[in-house]
């Protein structure tokens, strides 16, 4: 394994441990073969390519699969949001025919907008460049919907369903934070790639 070159490649890909490990294995195989062919390390590294170019190739190669994984995760987030939203509405006895409040509107419409953005992202699943914006939008809309849904449930927090409200809220916030982390990571792939 090369010293400086290998470390520089690892550094470029440090945002994805799995990808960095893959690059390390590939470089080790290449350098072994080149050494067996009698080539010195500097020449082998030169033939392997500039670190930035190779890191860019790895990031571009992994981006479509990472976006598909994120899309799948966002789908699960939307499903969890819908189920918890419905559960809170039923458990807390929200009347679906009552005059809508600002919070109930934000809750419902925010979710529908988020779901629509997810469908747009899914339709663009073969286009990595076009998929990220609707995914970001879906995440933001579902976050707003979740916030409104939790605020609606806030007055019932001291009641018998308080623990379940807290638990579902924590799960939703956890999923949202995880999705935000994934989307931030995808930004790194795009910057490198």
């Amino acid at each position: 394994m090369s010293g400086d070159y290998g470390r520089a490649l690892q550094r470029e890909l440090r945002f994805d441990r799995e990808l960095a490990e893959r690059a390390r294995e590939d470089l080790a195989e290449y350098l072994d073969e080149m050494a067996a062919a009698g080539l010195d390390r500097d020449e082998a590294e030169r033939r392997f390519g500039a670190v930035e170019d190779i890191a860019r190739s790895y990031a571009s190669a992994a981006l479509p699969a990472r976006l598909r994984q994120t899309l799948k995760a966002a789908g699960w987030l939307a499903l969890a949001t819908f189920l918890f939203m419905r559960w809170r509405s039923i458990a807390l006895g929200f009347d679906p025919f009552a005059q809508p409040t600002l919070l109930s509107l934000i809750d419902g419409v925010g979710f529908l907008i988020g779901a629509a953005a997810l469908i747009v992202a899914w339709r663009r699943r073969s286009d990595s460049a076009g998929m990220r914006a609707p995914l970001l939008f879906a995440g933001a809309a579902i976050a707003v919907s979740t916030g409104a849904s939790l605020l609606r449930a806030l007055p019932a927090l001291g009641g018998p369903d308080g623990v379940l409200i807290l638990a579902t809220g924590a799960v939703q916030l956890g999923l949202l934070l995880w999705l935000a982390g994934r989307l931030r990571l995808i930004g790194r792939y795009r910057r490198v790639g």
Partner: protein
């Protein structure tokens, strides 16, 4: 052929290289070098991420193989989807080459 010209066709070249049988990364590089007569001037390290991309797309499958001597190697093989994709790319390339050739033939205007 410079690296920029080859870039869009690297995946197809790799699929065609692996059509003859499974191979590890460096063997793919050597085979590309041999069959192209050294005309493909690209950083050899770019073949590895391309192999990874094709694997993530389900067109290749990889497995670790322990040779009798030396370091274990990741060996790549075409999947059924990879064979189909290669067939489609082959047809597309033939049509493209025929169309461009019609312009480049001397006296074609």
């Amino acid at each position: 052929m410079n690296a920029e010209m080859l870039k869009g066709h690297l995946d197809t070249v790799i699929l065609a290289t692996l059509e003859r049988g499974a191979a590890h990364g460096y063997a793919v590089i050597e085979e590309i070098r041999r069959r192209s007569g050294g005309h493909f001037d690209l950083p050899e390290g770019t073949v590895y991420p391309a192999l990874h991309r094709l694997e993530l797309a389900g067109l290749l499958a990889s497995d670790w193989v322990d040779p009798p001597a030396g370091r274990r190697k990741r060996v790549y093989a075409l999947t059924a989807a990879g064979r189909d994709a290669l067939g489609e790319r082959r047809t597309g390339w033939a049509e493209f080459a025929r169309a461009v050739g019609a312009f480049l033939e001397p006296g074609s205007a």
